[in-house]
């Protein structure tokens, strides 16, 4: 049992942190997010080319750095600290994660492109009637001419406007299947909209969209285990991102409380605020540890993996809400304005809480897994 980062892992974190400190200051980010495009492809190119970061969790045979889930967590935590909107989660964690699981020719062909930053992937798994259940899919993929015809609707496709390709779940006769679909393919209608965290998302309508047979990930009808696993990977990555955001919110609160005076004394001298900051610290420490544990359990058998991921998401969502709300409260009016980064961390954490299952979803899943086994 070992909770220490390796030399390589520390280097990965430091390199990324230093890049973001130089190129991702809050004001520039704020302007980029407010602009129509909503992201900076230049940053994305840097992450791929200058930092070779997009290969962090992939085997060396594909051009990756040979890491895995822990590397994703390290990257996501740093991205969380800097409020990075560029689509590491969609492209690397989810898209790349699915390709890595599927393996075969598709992985050999596409993972190097992911790592090189040539493609931007977005996961189109959610449907309106299914809430957070990724197994409830009404979209269909009908075999035709050796390929598939895709029909249906997807919602909440994070990073949809930026994607070159979508990873789409669809029902085939054999069950749930997963297809890699060109974003520009004929028959796709995309509605884009901003999200509360400064990001962009899309709703997609597929009407008679032709997908070649070699764009099927894994076996036909065999996508559910792939999707469930990658969802847990996404959950751990989001938890790590939230941990990064919480670290910043706590740090900013401590500094503010130490400097700002009320009634002739620093806020930090008031006992109720001291206790609140102690509780923020506790919430953060536990979240960070549980995120690491869940991350390290991603390779365990499905039930054990799912139990840990759901525990982490439930804990982190609650902690991030507490840390965020407390940080805003201690900042007073300043905490509510858009002018401090604090509010943007708060919004991002609110968004994370609503992605890949909120606390209600994960608590139910945790109960079902743990009390079934009891």
């Amino acid at each position: 049992m070992d909770f220490d980062y390796s030399v390589e892992q520390n280097l990965l974190r430091d390199t990324l942190a230093s890049y973001l400190a130089d190129h991702y200051d809050f004001e520039t980010r704020r302007a980029a997010v407010a602009a129509p495009a909503g992201w900076r492809p230049k940053i994305w190119a840097d992450l791929a080319e200058r930092l070779n970061l997009l290969g962090a969790p992939f085997p060396e045979e594909f051009g990756g750095l040979g890491g895995g889930a822990v590397e994703n967590a390290i990257v996501m935590e740093e991205l969380g600290k800097a409020l990075v909107v560029e689509p590491y989660l969609g492209t690397v964690v989810i898209g790349g994660g699915l390709l890595k699981q599927a393996g075969g020719a598709l992985a050999a062909q596409w993972l190097p492109r992911v790592i090189a930053g040539e493609v931007v992937l977005a996961f189109a798994g959610a449907e309106r009637q299914a809430r957070y259940d990724l197994g409830q899919v009404a979209t269909t993929a009908t075999p035709r001419n050796g390929g598939y015809v895709l029909d249906g609707r997807k919602t909440g496709v994070t990073g949809g406007p930026w994607a070159s390709h979508f990873l789409v779940t669809a029902r085939t006769g054999a069950g749930l299947s997963l297809l890699l679909v060109d974003a520009q393919a004929e028959g796709i209608t995309r509605s884009d909209y901003p999200t509360i965290d400064g990001g962009r998302a899309s709703d997609l309508v597929f009407e008679q969209v032709l997908v070649p047979a070699d764009r099927l990930l894994g076996a036909e009808g065999g996508a559910l285990p792939l999707v469930e696993r990658v969802a847990d990977e996404a959950v751990c990555a989001l938890c790590a991102e939230a941990v990064g955001a919480m670290r910043r919110m706590l740090a900013e609160t401590v500094v503010y409380a130490s400097q700002r005076k009320q009634f002739g004394a620093p806020l930090a001298s008031f006992q109720v605020l001291q206790h609140r900051m102690a509780d923020m610290f506790t919430a953060l420490e536990q979240s960070a540890a549980l995120t690491l544990v869940a991350t390290m359990k991603l390779d365990r058998p499905a039930d054990e993996r799912a139990l840990a991921a759901s525990a982490a998401k439930a804990q982190v969502d609650k902690a991030a809400k507490f840390v965020g709300e407390s940080a805003v409260q201690i900042h007073g009016g300043m905490g509510i304005t858009e002018e401090l980064s604090l509010g943007h961390y708060f919004r991002r954490c609110t968004a994370i809480a609503a992605q890949f299952g909120n606390a209600d979803f994960h608590l139910r899943r945790y109960a079902d897994l743990s009390l079934a086994a009891a």
């Binding site: 809430r131 409830q136 919602t155 998302a201 209600d360």
Partner: protein, 412 residues
């Protein structure tokens, strides 16, 4: 002791209901359904408040001599319950529920005649100039200076968190007229015309992200702003007394009925949102449990307010109990808005910048969420203010603790 309405009270309730049905029209309703904070835009706000004024119901808390409706506490409770239950807009408090009481109690006869009728009829809108960049909860440390120059005061400084300053015709503010005296005693209470040269407004966009011109709060800058001495309330240097009177004033606002309205919003969400396990959220046991927990808290607040306000006459200050109601009321506002966001699930994510665009005749925004989800997450962001404004909840707990300790004959 009983809870039943008398026949007169039942008749009054029916009258209120009938009036709302007619006055709270489709346009106002549509605006309200897109509101991120319970307010409409200025035009909508003025329209609604003038309707109330025309009916004589604009100022339930006012004494009858100034145009109050002369209601019993129960009638006020009924009026508030019915307007909240129907989801009517909040009445902007800065005029009717704030400065008006100070003018009534401490203003000159000329000030009463000049200001009160226009407040009552929303002919003039008001904003409040209390907080400053360096003085939030510690209000008595405020620094904006007012120097006497003949029959004017000359104001220099800045005010912040000024709600709807961009709509206001007048501002009431606390200024420092004496730097020698100790903090509280050098403060004076002034009324200033917002068109006076030297006042400028900077909008402060907030978490819920309204577009410019519709932001809720602002920072104001005062540069050599000349305010006639006749616009001073009471005596120079006694502003703190007037402000304290106002701070603990019964503002006629119990929280219970607003909270019940939020519960109704949540029920609507749950009747329309799917559950993870199939079916609708309203049948999901976890949702039901959490709903019950929050609804019981609302019942408790409502009961406490009902008991308390049923014996409070119009126009009286309610002291420490206002701290208790502010605490439980705002904490539940926040908890309910948070629960509403969670009930939305993934529909909490999309963000609509200009929620009134459609009403204004602009292109409606792309909004891939059902109507029941409109403005729910922004409301959650917006409501973070409720535990901060009007004295942070930490301050309210300090005050309430003092009351609890002193009620037992001891002091903390």
């Amino acid at each position: 002791m009983n809870l039943d309405y008398t026949p007169d009270e039942l008749a009054f309730r029916d009258e209120v209901r009938a009036w709302i049905k007619q006055a709270y029209d489709a346009e106002l309703k549509q605006l309200m359904s897109q509101s991120k904070n319970g307010y409409l835009d200025k035009a909508g706000q003025v329209k609604w408040q003038k309707k109330l004024a025309a009916k004589g119901w604009a100022a339930p808390g006012w004494p009858v001599q100034y145009g109050g409706p002369d209601w019993t506490p129960t009638q006020r409770y009924i009026f508030q319950s019915e307007t909240s239950a129907a989801g009517c807009p909040i009445v902007s408090p800065m005029g009717i529920a704030m400065v008006a009481y100070v003018i009534m109690e401490y203003g000159s006869e000329a000030q009463k005649q000049r200001f009160l009728p226009k407040i009552l009829n929303t002919d003039e809108c008001w904003c409040q100039g209390y907080s400053e960049p360096g003085s939030g909860s510690d209000l008595a440390s405020l620094q904006m200076s007012a120097v006497r120059d003949g029959d004017h005061y000359v104001l220099n400084g800045s005010k912040i968190w000024t709600t709807h300053a961009q709509w206001a015709d007048w501002i009431f503010c606390l200024v420092r007229t004496n730097r020698e005296a100790k903090a509280q005693s050098g403060i004076t209470f002034l009324l200033a015309d917002m068109r006076t040269p030297g006042i400028s407004i900077r909008s402060l966009p907030s978490l819920d992200g309204p577009i410019d011109g519709e932001q809720e709060v602002n920072q104001l800058f005062f540069e050599n702003v000349r305010v006639p001495v006749e616009n001073r309330i009471g005596e120079e240097g006694l502003g703190w007394t007037y402000a304290k009177y106002l701070l603990q004033f019964e503002r006629g606002t119990a929280y219970g009925s607003l909270l019940r309205y939020l519960l109704a919003k949540i029920r609507r969400i749950a009747r329309e949102q799917p559950a993870n396990s199939g079916g609708l959220l309203i049948d999901d046991p976890d949702f039901r449990r959490r709903y019950a927990e929050l609804a019981v808290r609302v019942e408790a607040v409502d009961a406490a307010e009902l008991r308390f306000f049923s014996s409070v006459e119009s126009g009286t200050a309610i002291g420490a109990m206002s701290s208790m109601f502010k605490l439980v009321g705002t904490e539940l506002q926040q908890a309910l808005s948070e629960f509403a966001v969670e009930a939305l699930g993934p529909d909490a994510l999309p963000f609509v910048q200009d929620s009134f665009a459609e009403v204004r005749g602009r292109a409606p925004p792309v909004r891939p969420i059902p109507d029941h989800a409109a403005a729910v997450t922004p409301l959650y962001f917006n409501y973070r203010k409720t535990s901060i404004y009007a004295g942070t909840n930490e301050i309210q707990r300090n005050l309430l603790a003092r009351h609890v300790l002193s009620a037992a004959g001891v002091r903390g």
